[in-house]
């Protein structure tokens, strides 16, 4: 891996914020784009101290517990009632969640 310091990112631009908002499925207003551009820049300035540390020989910790592969018996058990779950959905039809078009018209 590269030396400390070389991991620094380029400055955050409004274009970066718009790209990330698309990935996160957030329809931001132009005002929000401006505000988040400034705020993300200031917050990541703080994070750059962490990014610059030389930690190549330190393993990452994803999780504080040493538990792994927690299994249970593979036995059938009741789940949530379909009608009750669909009753909480914004739109449902014939036992399914109803959503707007996903694919373009051919």
């Amino acid at each position: 891996m590269s030396a400390p310091g070389s991991k620094r990112r380029a400055e955050i631009t409004a274009g970066d914020v718009e790209h990330v908002a698309r990935l996160a499925r957030l329809a931001l207003t132009p005002d929000e784009v401006d505000r988040f551009t400034a705020q993300l820049a200031s917050i990541f300035e703080n994070a750059d101290a962490v990014a610059a540390l030389d930690l190549d020989d330190v393993p990452p910790t994803a999780h504080p517990l040493s538990l792994s592969n927690v299994f249970r018996a593979d036995e059938p058990r009741p789940g949530l009632s379909r009608d009750e779950v669909l009753a909480a959905a914004p739109a449902a039809e014939e036992g399914w969640f109803r959503v707007p078009r996903i694919l373009e018209e051919p």
Binding site: V20, L26, P64, L65, L67, P90
Partner: protein, 478 residues
Amino acid sequence: MTDPGSINASEIATAVRNGHSAVETVDRCLDAIAARDDELHAFLHVDADAARAAAAAIDERVAAGDDPGALAGVPVALKDNLCVRGAPTTCGSRILEGWRPPYTATVVDRVLAAGAVPIGKTNLDEFAMGSSTENSAFGPTRNPHDPARVPGGSSGGSAAAIAAGFVPLALGSDTGGSIRQPASLCGVVGAKPTYGAVSRHGLIAFASSLDQIGPLAGDVGDAALLLDVISGHDPLDSTSIPDGIPSVSAVLDEGVEGIRVGVVSELTDAEGVQAEVGEAVESAAIALQKAGATVGPVSIPAAVHGLAAYYLIAPAEASSNLARYDGVRYGLRVDADDVATMNARTRASGFGAEVKRRIMLGTYALSAGYYDAYYGQAQRVRTLLIRDFESAYESFDVLLAPTSPTTAFELGAKTADPLAMYLSDVCTILANLAGHPAMSLPFGTGEGGLPIGVQVFAQPLREPEMFRTARVIEESAP
């Protein structure tokens, strides 16, 4: 027990088990809420009829010779990120307004099985993201000690409900200090148990490698009572510790003779820590020494990187967890002609500013090209921090530090500057990153009569030593 401010859970449970009316206790709590919660806004929902009915059922069981349990008739407030079947559960967000969960959180089932009476759902920062409860979509909670000031957050409603004498016990969740920091600012006791000690089944997820449910209470004994009820293995949570944690109530009064207490230098002397807060930690250390503990300074060098690591890991996990709010299965939908636009408009309309900011931070930190530089580095800092704690625990049994660098601040003081708000968590986040238990308890007051909290850290599963230490500090508090 005529003063609602002095209500105590173990006294109520004993009285109810001996035939004192649980309905009367619940009515007293409801009266206190009616008298002052318009001003404080600790609760988002209070179900008075359900609470009275539950209390009446407890009274009937006692009359029939039955023992309802360790929390017989004790009113409990629930943070509104805990699911209760059929009851409004908003997480402080417009995106879940009107949603009624189809199942109940394990912790709620456990307090019910112990005879407790849920009173209502308490206010919180939206999706538990915040340190002041000002990020609730339904308006802020105010600090009962000074309503111009915040109660802390994100469990600000739970902490305020206890400080105001509305309820003796409340449940909160703590991802970076969300139980301990509001407990500190409101002058109550709050504990974050070892990661995995309490089931999270039915807790709405924020950052899954950090989230943990814990008790808030008026004193250390009541917090211990509630922790003993809610801890234990749950097959519905794969991060639940198989053997649970030892009982804390049983050892509460064993004292600190021979316990080695390390005062964390990086947190006590840190820039931004109010002088009166640092002095309270020193006084608590002296009190422990007088009670037979040995006290010395200890260093956690990686602590200086804790905040930056936390504000990469927590938003990264949140951005993934909150992907589920897509307008399809539950909650809000803002319609559009295609599904991607529907998702984006729903989320833009349903989430508040702080939640959007965290999703943006997390998505950026996980995006192509930055994953290892930010998220990966933060996970390595987490390893360093755990190593530093392990080395500190070679010489010490528990560690002492401030909970919050400051006493309660005024509403609006930090809302314009996210980084200043994030600094509220600088002393608490370490326990979440390490997965260790930590608790806050009041230790005197500072300028303006505002409560000061001190924090006790312990090794995983060593809640007994942590509570014994807290009990001694409590007994010597000014």
